[in-house]
């Protein structure tokens, strides 16, 4: 243990004294405050903060990723190339201890630098509105939409298979099926009908009402607000491009039982189509068991169009589930997971490669990791015809790639969304416990069999 610590301390000293760390530190120390003042976003206080947090954290993450790759690769390959390792490995230290020591050193560096920069970013984010003199209205908006960690609930996929089947039977019996879908395979007809039924669930003709039910709604406190976030699509554009609606939020089961315990709030609104809007509702409309229902009425006399809520982001319920600070810390930890992974990757690569090749390999994997979504999708698309072969060969390999883009921490902060513990734990488990450990084992395997003073005759 003592020798692991000695190697770790030496690695930290190396990074600082050889000024590798200095380059990154100075770059960030200079860039972050400049970004804090120069970033304006869309001109509003919120846009400004969103732009800063997004670019600031992404830049920190990118630079620290590069830093981690360089330090972890340099530290080991340089020892071998400059032969300092001759004098280290002949001391009472096992090879795995050397690797662990290097890893520990790099992680200590990462934690230190990440702490410094995230504190810097956090401070700038917290103080910017005060310094720039935001109006009371802007401050309120920031509090609700930015300095928060809002959980989001969407009406999940509804199972419509039974309904589709009934509809199919009905059409079949009435003979319309033959008429409408002549010569089309049954599976395709079912798919088409499913789409129509689903659309009907999201659409309200004038006078029609839509009801959504949510369970497990757990706001941080009853004093906070809930937000219904929605966007309208319409079948025919209204003349003024507005939709008149009546909304209600609360526990509608009370209406049937007749016993009112939690309030039901109602709103009459006029909203522009194809734009996001939010309705603020008091959090105490949520029932004790976390049940919440929301209804939308397409007001018959005022509208003359079918109102459709687009899939995915047509309707969401947002509520404050955590504080901005704790969300920020979780986001920073997501970056740290990434760095731990890259440190292990760097050591693995340098356990059998020379410095330039190892850095190249790490950068390649890093950049594929940042576009892993695209890569996985395209592989899956291209391999449709050889799916069996794919799923046993390339598929698992592609899955082993890091998925930095999927777990991008900044998107949560920008939209003030909750970074849930389950996602946090999943990323930690996959990135650190599985992938990093796997890489580390490979590194130990390669390194313990490597002939350190090997000479190749040319």
């Amino acid at each position: 243990m003592r020798s692991i610590w000695a190697v770790a301390i030496n690695t930290v000293k190396q990074a600082f004294r050889l000024k590798i760390a200095a380059v990154f530190v100075i770059l960030l120390i200079v860039l972050l405050p400049i970004m804090g003042f120069s970033m304006t976003g869309d001109g509003t206080a919120q846009g400004r903060l969103q732009a800063f947090v997004s670019y600031g954290l992404s830049l920190t993450s990118l630079l620290l990723c590069l830093f981690t790759i360089i330090v972890s690769v340099y530290s080991l390959t340089n020892d071998i190339k400059q032969k300092q390792i001759y004098m280290v490995l002949t001391k009472p230290i096992r090879r795995f201890e050397l690797i662990f020591g290097k890893l520990l050193g790099v992680v200590i560096l990462d934690i230190a630098l990440l702490t410094v920069f995230s504190v810097l970013i956090y401070t700038i984010v917290i103080y910017t509105p005060r310094l720039s003199g935001a109006s009371a209205e802007e401050t309120a908006q920031l509090k609700n939409e930015f300095y928060t960690a809002r959980a989001s609930l969407t009406p999940g996929e509804v199972d419509v298979a039974g309904e589709v089947e009934k509809l199919y039977q009905k059409l079949d019996e009435s003979g319309q099926l033959e008429q409408m879908y002549k010569g089309i395979r049954r599976a395709n007809i079912i798919a088409e009908l499913t789409r129509r039924v689903k659309l009907r669930r999201r659409a309200a003709a004038p006078g029609q009402e839509l009801i959504w039910e949510f369970r497990d709604v757990k706001p941080l406190s009853k004093d906070e607000s809930l937000f219904i976030r929605f966007k309208y699509e319409v079948s025919v554009n209204p003349p003024d491009l507005h939709v008149y609606s009546a909304w209600a939020a609360g526990d509608y089961r009370q209406v049937h039982s007749g016993k009112i315990e939690t309030p039901i709030e109602t709103f009459e609104r006029k909203d522009l189509i194809r734009t996001f809007h939010e309705i603020e509702v008091s959090a105490n409309v949520v029932a004790e068991d976390g049940f919440l229902s929301i209804s939308f009425l397409n007001v018959p006399q005022l509208n003359n169009t079918v109102v459709i809520f687009p899939p995915d982001d047509g309707l969401e319920v947002l509520y404050k589930a955590d504080t901005f600070g704790s969300n920020f810390i979780k986001a920073v930890f997501l970056i740290l997971f990434r760095l731990v992974f890259l440190a292990c990757l760097g050591l693995m690569a340098s356990s059998f490669l020379s410095m330039p090749v190892a850095i190249l390999l790490c950068l390649l994997i890093f950049f594929t990791g940042t576009i892993s979504g695209f890569i996985i999708e395209s592989f899956e698309y291209l391999s449709k015809d050889i799916s069996l072969l794919y799923s046993y060969t390339v598929g698992p390999m592609v899955k082993l790639l890091p998925q930095f883009d999927k777990f991008n921490p900044t998107k949560f902060l920008v939209s003030g969304r909750l970074l849930s513990w389950s996602l946090f734990a999943r990323v930690g488990a996959v990135m650190v416990c599985i992938k990093s450990v796997l890489l580390l084992l490979l590194a130990l395997l390669f390194f313990s069999y490597r002939e350190i003073a090997k000479a190749v005759i040319r």
Partner: protein, 405 residues
Amino acid sequence: MEYAIETFSLTKVFSDLWGRNKVYAVADLNLRIRENEVFGLLGPNGSGKTTTLKVLLGLLYPTKGKYVVLGGDSTDPKISARIGFMPEESYLYRYLSARETLDFYGRLFGLKRQVRKMRIEALLDMVGLKAAANRAVGTFSKGMARRIGLAQALINDPDLLILDEPTTGLDPIGTRQIKDLILELAKRGKTILLCSHLLADVEDVCDRIAILYGGRIQSEGKVKELLVQTDKREITTGRISDAAVEKIKQIVRQEQAECVVSSPMDKLETFFIRTVTAAQQQATPTSGAVSTTRIGGFLSSEGTQKNILDRLVSAPQPEQPSSAEPATKEPVVVETTQTKADEQLLDKLTRVERTETVTKEPANPKLLEPEQTKKNILDELTDAPKNKNTGEGHSGNPDGDPGNA
């Protein structure tokens, strides 16, 4: 355990990427190095000396054969904790200071803080780098880096010291220090394996040597036995009259033998050390290593009070007249030099200090005549410049013969 190092037909083959072009760096090497022995591995460049050391230290894996170091595997921390290794060049972390470097290696040996600090200061003092202790070793000259290399090899008070070309890059004083140190450590029961092609160094300190060529042992044995010329005698006297010389010549002629009479020259090494010591006493500032002849003296005298190295070795301490007075710790040569330090130094270059040389050191029978060494295999194998005064390497050595079995 009889042998400190034993190899069994050790073979190391280097090949190219495709496994072709085989080069036998070490071939069927059977080496037996006894405990408490100073063993020299000689050979020209590329004869497999360093490769052998690297295999013994676990930096290379043998292609064939086995080896036992201190009764086990040298990569086992229990074993490697007892080994000190000084590679042919000091591969140091350039950004660490001398003190930090030694601290790092001390930590790798798992030495406790107190012990570490004490040993570091003692070693820095010993190798004369105390003044440069806080400078980054990247700024050191080659010789200074070698001194750090030596210090780190001694920090664990090793039972087995492996030295690869210990004296290259060192000034004559450093060379002498290393040689004195080797003898001193051997006296305390340490085993020392050194490889070199500087024959003078090897001859001065080694009990046994093996000469490698093409990865094979060409010759092996005790230095004295290998080099002794039984049919020759040498007489060294004090200042005597020409008449006395003539009488001696006559006696020799009666024995039907040839006789050569000459005045021995002072060794350049001795002169050099004297010069530098004198300059040091006048406190001439230097940015480099402080040249001291303290290595041998340090370990044997001051150690009884301060040095942890001494407490850890069980061998009896060599007698010292007084450990409080530094001057008495110096080897005899230096002592005599100190008395004359104020004299004109250039004058001495030409002067023959016959009496001093004679009283200190009787001529060694293993002295080689230049013509005779030409026949020696060493001469064919090495490209190192030959030192005509090889045999007089002992002249400055207070302990006399290096034999310390």
